[in-house]
């Protein structure tokens, strides 16, 4: 299938099973370059799984996923190529505790992109400044607060200069005060035109930056819409129920 240059991610008829459990059912999704998409849905609906399929942390069993023009198959070369184009930020940061913040950020550029060390460090400092923690560069992750850690994780991804960023509930492991720090960083990124897919329940964030909100339930995309309509005129019953719960809380 030919994909236009405008399309960053194209998922068609994708299905995935865990053993006999059908987690993702007939997913069709096209993400254009520069689009910022928020994925919401109840727990267990398959949001994380979908995100993880996109950089092949999980493999899908049928259908097609094309990222940046490269189809994801079990070909290792393609996988490597896609992974270095796609950055991912995890709920629990997953920083490397035995490396300093700076080393965390330079590791992949040096070993995967083969960037000279000096240059990688400059780049790392650049992105650390961007997430507003350049002064922490020589600390170890264990010495940082949760919010700072998550920002390091974002910087680490950015250092690979990916064209697409995936976020899997990046704020849900954080204390309330720290959520804002991280969301601000993400909003900044969004402003610069990064293509973003973000699983989150922060509806404020969705309203502020998303081009589109996708609602998933039981492995399917139930509804997608722009944020305003999504929150104010949800079409499906399921969405209404969900919105009433999270907004009421």
């Amino acid at each position: 299938m030919q994909v236009s240059d405008e399309v960053a991610i194209q998922i068609s008829n994708m299905n995935k099973w865990y053993g006999t459990f059908h987690v993702l059912r007939d997913i069709n999704l096209t993400v254009n370059r520069g689009e910022r998409i928020v994925i919401a849905g109840p727990s267990g609906s398959g949001k994380s799984t979908l995100i993880r399929c996109i950089n092949r942390l999980e493999d899908h069993q049928s259908g097609q996923i094309i990222v940046d023009g490269i189809e994801l198959t079990s070909d290792i070369k393609n996988i490597d190529k896609v992974r270095s184009e796609v950055g991912m930020v995890f709920q629990h940061f997953n920083l490397f505790p035995h490396l300093t913040v700076l080393e965390n950020c330079t590791l992949a550029p040096i070993w995967v992109r083969k960037v000279p060390k000096r240059e990688a460090e400059e780049r790392a400092m650049h992105y650390l400044s961007k997430v507003k923690i350049p002064e922490q560069a020589n600390k170890y992750p264990g010495q940082l607060s949760g919010g700072q850690q998550q920002r390091v994780a974002i910087a680490r991804s950015l250092c690979m200069e990916p064209r697409i960023m995936l976020f899997d509930e990046p704020t849900s492991a954080l204390d309330p005060e720290m959520i804002k720090e991280v969301l601000d960083t993400m909003i900044e990124l969004a402003k610069e035109g990064m293509t973003m897919l973000c699983v989150t329940h922060e509806m404020g964030f969705a309203q502020a930056v998303a081009n589109r909100v996708i609602f998933m339930d039981q492995g399917q995309i139930v509804e997608q819409n722009n944020p305003y309509d999504f929150f104010n005129n949800p079409k499906s019953e399921r969405t209404k129920l969900f919105l009433s719960q999270i907004l009421g809380h």
Binding site: N55, L57, G87, F90, H98, L107, W111, M160
Partner: protein
């Protein structure tokens, strides 16, 4: 606000302590009394014997005469004169007297080599270890009949390693990498070119890998290994000989049969642990692999080795290994023992490291994957550094076990410190009939080493628990 006040005094001092710690209830009182009786019996049994120690005698008969003379006829006493007479054999076996300094130096350098691996985290510990190593090295060299230039060089070396330990601990890693070759050369002697050429094999492999890695890491790895193998099998011997002819770097050779006592134990123990570590890592990775066949082979190997006593493996080394190798091959018994002990330790090491790998959260693997690191890079840069750190306590206890088990080599005819040397001493006319003293002496040395190591690993465990960064 009510100010804090001191707690009410109930009882004070020793009586309170006794009451709380020894006699706080009928059960505790009974236990305390039993404990006191046990201590009393032990002290009564051993103390007189110990207090009648004799340090200066030429042989057992003389020793007993002295005891009878000093403490009255029928008095029993310890005859430590034996230790004074034979301590060198317990430590070095039959290693030539004049070369003791080489063994001592190798031992002291061991700590320098270990410093960046085991002690890198804490400057204080590193200082203590390095200063102790420097002291051992310098003293051993002075009292070990070393030539003057070695003494000077060691002073200089000690200064350098103290400096490096202080300011550039990671630089010591280079020394760690070179240490095996250096230790081999110091202990066995001969031409320095042999170990140098053996090291060159690694260099060749590394160069090949660097040249090819850009194309395909798999191909590069295979080529590197093959080239290094070829070098070792066919060229390194000749190259060493030629180089030796050109510039001679020889020191007197000492053959394996002179090794004995703690020198033998330490040599076997350290060599086996050093080699079992990489082997254990590979086995552990294989056992966690998702490839069925690889996993099955690793499991079979590990469970087989762990399922049989070490002593039977030593039998294999001494009795069977020659059957398994091409007709006519025949190599040093120490080397064969080291191979078997290595295999044995590797199986245990694999389990320890597997524990460390399992303790790593899955997120670390995923993060590495999502950054685009391939399997080996992820293992080398992310997984193993962390897993090994978690495993250090386990590795240290494996080492303690292996070190203790080196006493079993006596069953294949090597002179281990415990039974080999002791029997040799007791077979001599001078010390025939001596019984407890050699055992106590050997036990003391083992205890010192092992206890220090176990404390160290406990310290590490505590530290790991504390800073979970």
């Amino acid at each position: 606000m009510i100010p804090p006040s001191p707690p009410p005094m109930r009882q004070a001092g020793a009586i309170k302590w006794l009451r709380e710690n020894l006699f706080s209830g009928p059960l505790n009182t009974a236990l305390s009394i039993i404990g006191i009786i046990i201590v009393w019996l032990l002290v009564q049994g051993i103390l007189p014997w110990l207090s009648h120690s004799v340090w200066d005698a030429q042989n057992l008969r003389e020793c007993r005469n002295i005891i009878a003379e000093r403490f009255g006829a029928g008095a029993e006493g310890a005859c430590w004169a034996m230790v004074r007479d034979r301590w060198s054999q317990f430590l070095f076996g039959f290693y030539p007297n004049a070369l003791y300094w080489r063994a001592t130096l190798a031992f002291a350098l061991l700590f320098v080599a270990l410093a960046p691996i085991l002690f890198s985290e804490s400057l204080k510990i590193r200082r203590i270890i390095l200063i102790a190593a420097a002291a051992i090295g310098v003293l051993g060299i002075i009292f070990g009949h070393a030539p003057v230039w070695v003494v000077v060089a060691t002073w200089f070396g000690a200064a350098v390693w103290l400096w490096a330990g202080e300011f550039a601990p990671t630089k010591l890693l280079w020394f760690t990498a070179l240490y095996p070759a250096l230790a081999y050369w110091l202990l066995w002697g001969g031409s320095a070119w042999d170990p140098i050429m053996a090291l060159a094999g690694f260099l060749i492999g590394y160069i090949a890998w660097r040249l090819l890695a850009a194309r395909s890491t798999l191909v590069a790895a295979i080529v590197a290994v093959v080239l290094a193998m070829l070098w070792w099998l066919y060229y390194s011997g000749d190259a060493a000989r030629d180089a030796e002819d050109l510039i001679s770097l020889s020191i007197p050779q000492v053959s394996s049969r002179y090794f004995g006592g703690f020198l033998l134990s330490t040599t076997i123990g350290v060599a086996a642990i050093a080699m079992s570590l990489p082997m254990g890592i590979i086995l552990a990775l294989a056992r966690r692999s998702d490839m069925f066949l690889v996993r099955a082979l690793a499991v079979t190997f590990i469970e087989f080795i762990r399922g049989v006593p070490l002593i039977t493996l030593l039998f294999v080394a001494s009795l069977l290994l020659n059957y398994f190798l091409p007709p006519g091959t025949n190599f040093d018994i120490i080397l064969r023992v080291v191979i078997m002990v290595t295999i044995f330790a590797a199986a245990y090491m694999a389990e320890v490291i597997r524990g460390g790998l399992a303790a790593l959260p899955k997120g670390q693997y995923e993060a590495a994957d999502s950054l685009g690191l391939d399997y080996w890079k992820a293992q080398r840069l992310i997984i193993l550094p962390q897993a090994l750190k978690i495993s250090i306590p386990g590795i240290v206890s494996t080492f303690i076990g292996v070190f203790k088990d080196t006493t079993l080599v006596v069953f294949v005819g090597l002179l281990d410190p415990l039974k080999g040397i002791t029997d040799a001493v007791r077979a001599s006319t001078d010390w025939k009939g001596i019984y407890w003293e050699p055992y106590i002496f050997v036990a003391l040395i083992f205890f010192t080493f092992c206890f220090a190591m176990s404390r160290y690993s406990m310290y590490l465990e505590r530290r790991l628990k504390r800073d979970n960064h």
